[in-house]
Amino acid sequence: MSEPLAIDVSGMTKRFGNRTVVDSIDLQVRTGEIFGFLGPNGSGKTTFIRMLCGLLRADGGSGTCLGFDVIGESEQIKRNVGYMTQRFSFYEDLSIRENLDFVARIYGILNRKAAVDASLEKLGLASRGRQLAGQLSGGWKQRLALAACLIHQPRLLLLDEPTAGVDPKARRDFWEQIHELASEGLTVLITTHYMDEAERCHRLGYLAYGQLLAYGTVSEVIRTVGLTTWTVKGPRLAELAGRLRKEPAVAHVAAFGEALHVSGTDAAALEKALSAHRTEAYVWSQVETSLEDVFIHLMGEARDNFS
């Protein structure tokens, strides 16, 4: 692992027709890092990943992936990348073992049988190797896909929503495995819609409408957005939320269980605005802004900017 940056691209752009789906993204991911990619549906996460591994031709941009040119050397990139697609894309009419065996053959793995056996063992599917992949449940398909992506020992993993529809226990196992792999030097770029998963990443990027709006560690992202957040508990929160949304200083109001989170970018103005609503029935307290507050805020802002 000589190069410090596994991914180092700038100006990556993709247009479908006259719609710019990925708009001039600069991104650096360090070797051995777990980089989380977040953003609302249709924000261009999948498209960006596809450009990285040469599945889509970029309309603009340059840079390197694992030291290879992202535009001209996709062949070498493909050899060293494990890409797990958002939609299960192994062969449902092949068995679990046959799928793994196919991938192992394609990459020319020496000692193929041993590699496939080890992979099945690790998956916990050793006894079910002959089952057709199409008969697996959604969560198990995800696990099979991950195992298949790892069989050729890639240096970079591109995981597109790998835990969608996976149960909590399996998700935790999955993240443990990811951290273990990262500590061995594997770089991981992962997209997710789960906040708890985002918090497990070393660094994050937040994408909306094809633009990278925030970028850094969890605390860096929270700090750059600069939100102040209050919670409030009490009766008829929905009505209160309606009233609060009318305040210009309130950037967004979101319900979290029994409480509302009220955030704003200007701390003083927010406090002043809230004072009007501080009646006896309600318990107010200032809290640390969470990642979720930040993302809800970013999503609202992006909508204002683009629609």
Partner: protein, 380 residues
């Protein structure tokens, strides 16, 4: 766009193994690929083998002599011809044939009996509606035997055992509408080409389209595989299926229909493998163009129908207008039919057959080039 454009044997094997396994899983398709040739052979074979009788016939009788009358009687008695009427002019005869009301018009000229009496050569003209040559063939062939036996018997009668030379009869058959009458031996070899064109093009046109529709293409493209590896990997298993089809047809046509095999079986298989590969290349190329499986099937039919119609299988090639012949010359099926009929029926060797192979090979190369060019290495 990579620099390592070399074909990898190991990746090719990976794809072939995968395709074989998938084919083996898809029992229904496999059963159809084996079933279709047998079914077609039986259907066509049945139609060929049938020996139609009681075919509507008109007689243009210009002679009222005894020989003429006994010939007509013999024709009627044979069972092959139902004499539905007599006509007096060529115009009436043509009209009946045109409308398809009769299959045959038998002309017996005015001097028929007189010529036979004199020991001269007499002639009978049979006009046959040969649009469906299978229907007319055996009726016409019985007529000759029929006529001579009826007339020798007649000749002997009045002269009481006097030995006269057998009557000299000229039987002219005028096959209308379809001058190059296709015989049963002609159809069975042709059927091989038709079945191969239909199944091979269709099945492979679905190959890449299916990967795209199921989403597996994204995965395949994210791996370091080359277009040629994917295409040839998909072609190989179906070449085997093609051989199974051809062998089934050959065995059945030999055992059931006694179609001769005048030439070399090995040569036939060589020609067939080229033809199979060509059709598979067409199918693969279609599947790189088609957006979904329905389009792929439609494109296959778009290729299959003109192949079938213009190759000389359905209509005699030389009977087609020049422009249709020109189009027909392009299709591999046209040349394959000539080659197969040449080998099986005429015993043609490699020297003659090679002339039919070049156009097929050329077609394949062009189609493969288009396919490789069209094969998208990206999802764009």
């Amino acid at each position: 766009m990579g620099h390592s454009t070399s074909f990898s044997w190991q990746r090719f094997v990976a794809l072939v193994v995968k395709e074989f396994t998938q084919m083996q899983r898809d029992r229904l398709t496999f059963a159809m690929m084996v079933g279709i040739p047998l079914m077609q052979l039986m259907l066509f074979g049945f139609a060929i083998n049938s020996d139609p009788k009681h075919l509507p016939t008109a007689v243009l009788l210009a002679d009222q002599g005894p020989q003429a009358r006994s010939l007509v009687q013999a024709i009627r008695n044979s069972g092959y011809y139902d004499i539905v009427g007599t006509v007096t002019t060529q115009f009436e005869a043509d009209a009946l044939l045109d409308r398809g009301e009769v299959q045959f018009v038998i002309h017996i000229p005015a001097d028929f009996s007189r010529r036979l009496w004199r020991g001269e050569k007499a002639s009978v003209l049979v006009e046959a509606d040969a649009t469906d040559p299978g229907a007319t063939g055996s009726a016409v062939s019985t007529l000759r035997a029929l006529a001579s036996s009826a007339l020798s018997h007649d000749a002997r009668g009045p002269l009481g055992g006097l030995i006269t030379p057998p009557p000299r009869l000229d039987l002219l058959v005028h096959a209308r509408y379809n001058p190059e009458a296709i015989t049963q031996f002609n159809i069975v070899p042709g059927l091989m080409g038709v079945v191969l064109t239909m199944t091979m093009v269709m099945i492979t046109s679905l190959a890449i389209t299916r990967e795209r529709e199921r989403g597996t293409m994204e995965n395949l493209l994210s791996m370091p595989v080359r277009p040629l590896e994917v295409m040839t990997g998909k072609i190989i298993p179906y070449i085997l299926v093609g051989f199974i089809q051809v062998s089934l047809i050959l065995i059945a046509s030999h055992v059931i229909f006694h179609v001769p095999m005048a030439g070399s079986l090995a040569l036939l298989y060589v020609v067939t493998s080229l033809f199979i590969a060509t059709n598979l290349a067409v199918g693969i190329t279609f599947s790189t163009v088609a957006q979904n499986q329905l389009q792929a099937v439609q494109m296959s039919f778009f290729f299959f129908l003109p192949s079938l119609l213009l190759s000389g299988f359905m209509f005699p090639f030389r009977g087609m207008p020049v422009w249709a012949q020109a189009i027909g010359e392009v299709f591999p099926l046209t040349h394959f039919l000539r080659a197969v009929r040449g080998i099986m029926l005429k015993g043609n060797g490699i020297g003659v057959v090679a002339g039919h192979l070049w156009p097929v090979a050329g077609f394949m190369v062009v189609v493969l080039l288009i396919g490789i060019k069209r094969y998208r290495q990206t999802l764009d």
